[in-house]
Amino acid sequence: MRIGDFRESYEHDEAIWPTRVQRGWLGLLVLLLLCFPFGVNGYVAGVACLLGIHIIAATGLNIMTGYTGLISLGHAAFMGVGCYTTAYLAQRGVPFILVLPLSGLMAGLLGVVVGLPSLRIKGLYLAVATLAAQFILVYVFREWSSVTGGVGGVTIPAARLMGFELRNDHSVYFLIMPVAILLLIAARNLFRTRVGRAFIAIRDRDISAEVLGINLLHYKLAAFAIGSFYAGVAGSLLGYFYRAITPEYFTLELSIFYLAAIIVGGLGSLLGTIFGAVFMTLLPELLRVSVSYATQWAPGATSVLSSMQQIVFGLLIIGFLVFEPHGLLEVWRRIRRFFHLWPFRA
């Protein structure tokens, strides 16, 4: 049973990780993340990279949807914008340290444009508007061949870090993970500022927020800009990770995947975002592995894999919404509560 979490100074109260135990666990986690790629094969390292990218993108979407209440069905397209900006700049020899923020800014700029309708509409209507933006942007990716390489896609030169070329998944991991951690901390701090709190006020009731003196125009667009910036950075990293990309990657399904991730994890929570992204990334991999085992007894199993993934994906969304609407975060809290009170209450 945990006792004695007293806050005695303002610094202590404002700390992101207030207790020593939390900081200890955190240190351990960072150490683990640092050593992790040295002990695993290329496949696992690749999944870890993808995981980092998904966490960044899902965090961006959670800032927009979970914290500000602006539903977006076009998140994948913003990632695409980031990815193609990266391809364009990296092919012209711009170092990744500049490419990364520029890709984010480009996506953020476009996010502001797509976010403009959000000033008049919300809820389902906004969802439809962003859906339209998703299709239009993917159309642009396909047709604007001189920049995006059209249907054939583009290749992206490997990122160079201190003279090393980040060619394999193990080395790209050391680019992706720090960026992911940095952006997560930035997001955590965002919600301790006026801007972040304004986002939450807008989500809870935008008219009341306006009455309280929050400029809806600025803050809704800011939410779109920040969310899309995260998507753009995620897309940029995706480019450096795959180093060849086609428009087919940034489909509506990917946008829905991110929405599903933040719902399964927990809307309006960064920890929930991480849970959701991890869960939704690992699940298809688990399915794939189990199916490849199943082929020993049922040779036809791989042929139904993609439809099975689709079914499981859909049922997961439905199941969480119906039975656990606060997501994995709530499950996690329940487990924590159990141990905090143990052995006095089950």
Binding site: V128, Y139, L259, S307, Q310, L315
Partner: protein
């Protein structure tokens, strides 16, 4: 406009567009019914269309049941599936935030789509039997394929039947009452839950009919489900809760799509509906005939 402008070409595109618009209006009707009745945009509409078409194909071609009986059978099956979905998924979520309901229909779309792929094979395209007469119609030099005319007539008939149903039958009137004000309707003795279930069943049937017609014109493959997303532009233009709006907007969008496809090429056609959506949402978010929402604190 050039002097040698081909008016016949224009007339042909226009006629084809209007005829295709009838079908769009039918699909839009499926969306509008659900939105009006339960406040949900059903993103799984395309999958309902697919279900109808695949059920029909299975009954008619694989089991050899005559077309009319197969049609009735598949419509009943889809109605049953929609009722089950309403009962198991949408009912527990009523009153939840918009994003939950939006996502649940998206999840439903994924699960149904995956199920259809698993049963009938995702990459497989089936040749539908010729349901509609192919005899073309010539208006002067304007050539109109027979299938288009018959699909338009069928769509119009279905829409007409539903409109009459809502206008003149007791159930239809109580459904309208429940849609416009559930609480008052409930107080007056309307079984709101039953009407909502019926709404979903009707939407499923409308979707299934549309799916069978579309599959009969093109052919049967999972790509069928994508048609429904394009129809979102129709319901946004017409107004989410207006059946008249769905009809008018269906014709307008059909016309616009056909003209852009004819003059600007087929690729542009794919995004025309979405450009229209963005423009409408910026200028007139509640559509041509929709109810303007007034928000109060």
């Amino acid at each position: 406009m050039p002097l040698d402008f081909d008016w016949y070409e224009l007339a042909e595109y226009a006629a084809l567009g209007l005829l295709a618009g009838g079908l769009q209006a039918l699909i839009a009707l499926g969306f509008v019914l659900v939105y009006k009745g339960t406040g949900v945009i059903n993103f799984a509409m395309g999958e309902f269309m697919m279900l109808g078409a695949y059920f029909f194909y299975t009954a008619n071609v694989m089991w050899g049941i005559p077309a009319l009986a197969a049609l009735i059978l598949s419509l009943l099956a889809v109605a049953l599936v929609s009722a089950l979905i309403e009962k198991a998924i949408l009912r527990p979520l009523s009153g939840q935030p918009v994003i939950s309901i939006l996502m649940v229909t998206l999840g439903l779309a994924s699960a149904l789509g995956g199920g259809i792929n698993a049963i009938w094979g995702g990459g497989h395209t089936y040749e539908m039997p010729a349901l509609l007469p192919r005899t073309p119609l010539y208006l002067g030099d304007v050539f109109i394929p027979g299938q288009m005319i018959w699909s338009f007539l069928l769509a119009a008939a279905v829409i007409l039947v539903f409109s009459l149903y809502f206008r003149y039958t007791a159930t239809g009137v109580s459904m309208r009452a429940a849609a416009s004000d559930p609480t008052t309707a409930y107080v007056l003795g309307v079984d709101v839950r039953a009407t909502q279930r019926l709404t979903w069943m009707f939407a499923g049937v409308v979707g299934a009919v549309a799916g069978i017609i579309v599959a009969a014109i093109t052919n049967l493959s999972p790509a069928l489900g994508g048609v429904a997303l394009g129809v979102l532009s129709v319901i946004i233009l017409g107004g989410l809760d207006s059946i008249v709006g769905a009809i008018v907007a269906g014709l307008i969008i059909g016309l616009l799509e056909s003209l852009t496809a004819g003059y600007l090429g087929g690729k542009v056609r794919d995004i025309v509906p979405y450009v229209i959506v963005l423009v409408i949402l910026l200028i007139r978010p509640y559509g041509l005939f929709g109810t303007r929402e007034i928000e109060r604190l």
